[in-house]
């Protein structure tokens, strides 16, 4: 396919896309040196964290249809493990980083396993409870987590003896995580593994009858999503330098879910854009103070009325038309089951 002789004469799609991609990459690489305002750079880095969270939740909820409202818990597990190991136990960052991602993945697998029989609203409630239990644990297990006092003074990662404590350094660190999660999500989407996840989302019984062990794939979807959230959390702790249970509340999980819905559930670039958009709009609305969340809420409601599939809904026009058709009783066969 790559060595198609026809592409020698005509401009191949690869070539025509190569230039914009190269320019965008270059722009993103120099961005932290162009944005001199530390506050703006912080918002950019923060949106990087949310991109990782949204794209990873999209694997669980968008690809597989498992409605999880506890994603912030995995983010918190990653952050707390890194914080406690680097501050209390004085580990260096990198082993703590790996352990955070692994532990978060393991907890994700466990949650996936106990949630195998739950779906839709019930699964959502189970994930909310799970996340709340973990938050309460962090809040009350004071001898380990310092409870509401939080963990202060989290050291920045060091690489080859250099402390990566600048905003630019975190920009590149989270940038690597963003690239990794988006690449992985794309690979999943195009692989038989991803196809199995989509199949399971669309029709669990048919997927099982076609030889897909749906239990295994549900657990895998939870594990993958949790791992990336843990990885993001692990970078988040030294970036903030101080974490407390408040950082990983239920509202945080809802916010990540909103990013998915705004961007377009299932669409990788869509949810990444949703993450950036919501992060920035919350900052832009800061001058409105008291009314900030109200305006934000109204905007979300308006979006859901006028564009229920999100800004970049991946269903496409064709499926949308079919959905409308079946809503008015014109569609034939079963209507597409709504993805949560």
């Amino acid at each position: 396919m790559m060595n198609n002789p026809a592409s020698d004469t005509a401009v191949s799609p690869h070539q025509s896309r190569a230039l914009p991609i190269a320019l965008a990459t270059a722009a993103l690489l120099v961005l932290p040196w162009l944005v001199t305002n530390d506050y703006y750079l912080r918002i950019i880095v923060l949106s990087g964290f949310y991109i990782v969270l949204a794209v990873s939740l999209n694997i669980t909820t968008g690809f597989t249809g498992l409605l999880s409202v506890g994603h912030a818990a995995f983010f918190g597990i990653g952050a707390y493990i890194t914080a406690l190991l680097t501050v209390g136990a004085e580990w260096s960052f990198w082993p703590a980083f790996l352990l955070s991602a692994a532990a978060s993945a393991a907890v994700g697998a466990a949650l996936g396993f106990v949630s195998i029989r739950l779906r839709g609203d019930y699964l959502a409630i189970a994930t909310i409870c799970f996340a709340e239990v973990l938050r309460l644990l962090a809040l009350n297990w004071i001898s380990v987590t310092r409870g509401p006092m939080g963990v202060p003074g989290i050291p920045a990662p060091r690489l080859f003896g250099v402390s990566l404590d600048s905003q630019q350094a975190f920009y590149y660190l989270i940038g690597v995580a963003v690239v990794l999660v988006i690449y992985t999500a794309h690979v999943i989407q195009a692989s038989p593994f991803g196809r199995a996840l989509f199949a399971l989302r669309d029709n669990e019984m048919a997927a099982e009858a076609m030889g897909i062990d749906t239990r295994l794939y549900k657990v895998a979807a939870f594990t993958t999503g949790a791992m990336f959230a843990g990885l993001a959390g692990s970078l988040y702790a030294p970036w903030l330098t101080f974490i407390s249970p408040d950082n990983f509340s239920y509202l945080e999980s809802v916010m990540i879910l909103c990013m998915l819905i705004v961007g377009g559930l299932g669409n990788i670039w869509g949810v990444a854009f949703g993450a950036v958009l919501l992060t920035f709009s919350l900052e832009i609305l800061r001058p409105f103070e008291t009314f900030r969340m109200a305006i934000y809420g109204a905007l979300l409601v308006a979006l859901m009325i006028y564009r229920p599939q999100g800004l970049f809904g991946n269903l496409g026009w064709k499926a949308l038309r079919q959905n409308i058709g079946s809503r008015f009783g014109k569609g034939r066969g079963p209507a597409r089951e709504p993805t949560p």
Partner: protein, 253 residues
């Protein structure tokens, strides 16, 4: 040679006995028809055979091994595929992707080869795609491969279910009312398709209401009524059997 056997299989939902001690076998290469009035327990029987339901009694043997209580995915991997009475496609996926999902059990590596862009993985994907195109031609859907499955007309959706099942290279294919809702022309086409499938060496079992459809395909039929097997033999024999006639037309008081 017996490929598949159910022995005294029963399924009870609380007080309701849906399937009551049914026994029959399917020989390799044959097309078995399963008929019976509405609510006789035919689909429940299929669900027991494919593992979607666990039998409350009896045993099911497929390719020389008991499969009662196995997961549907394990049974599918052993070479049994099915279609559904109420169509169950992956509606938000394309026709091609639906068929490729059918090839799930044929694949070893499902992720890492894609992550590292290995040559072996690309070859495997290429072969799978070629096989999918071949299967789509059998059911004449090769020109629809990029359409969304949910957007297909009804008859095409039924054919797509068959294609998806064929893609798993099954030894036994179960079709649950494959002709339901089809017009005469579509039925004739479906009969041709099923004959082609049979000629390629597959064993089939199908549930159907249309006797003409059954007659033109099956050498042997099993009749189910009230969860029990009341007849096992040739279609002609069934037409003459008193209990079968009673089941369909009602007994004389």
């Amino acid at each position: 040679m017996t490929l598949f056997q159910v022995g005294g299989v029963g399924k009870r939902f609380g007080g309701l006995v849906a399937v009551d001690g049914v026994s029959f076998s399917i020989a390799a290469g044959e097309v078995l028809g399963i008929i019976g009035p509405n609510g006789a327990g035919k689909t429940t029987l299929f669900n027991l055979m494919t593992g979607l339901l666990k039998p409350t009694q009896g045993d099911i043997v497929f390719r020389g091994e008991s499969i009662g209580g196995r997961r549907p995915s394990q049974i599918a991997a052993r070479g049994m595929a099915r279609t559904f009475q109420n169509i169950r496609l992956f509606n938000s996926l394309t026709v091609m992707d639906n068929v490729l999902v059918g090839g799930h059990t044929q694949l070893g590596d499902k992720f890492w080869g894609a992550f590292f862009h290995t040559k072996a993985f690309q070859r495997q994907q290429e072969n799978l795609r070629k096989e999918a195109e071949r299967v789509l031609r059998i059911v004449s859907l090769d020109d629809k491969r990029d359409d969304l499955a949910g957007s297909l007309p009804y008859g095409a959706q039924r054919r797509l279910e068959i294609a998806r099942a064929l893609m798993s290279k099954p030894t036994l294919l179960l079709l649950d009312e494959p002709a339901a809702g089809m017009n005469t022309g579509e039925r004739a086409g479906l009969i041709e398709t099923i004959r082609t499938i049979q000629a390629s060496g597959l064993t089939l079992a199908l549930i159907e209401h249309d006797m003409k459809f059954i007659m033109s395909l099956c050498e042997r039929i099993v009749v189910i009524d009230h969860g029990q097997k009341i007849f096992d033999g040739t279609p002609e024999g069934a037409k003459a059997d008193r209990r079968v006639i009673e089941a369909y037309l009602g007994a004389e008081e």
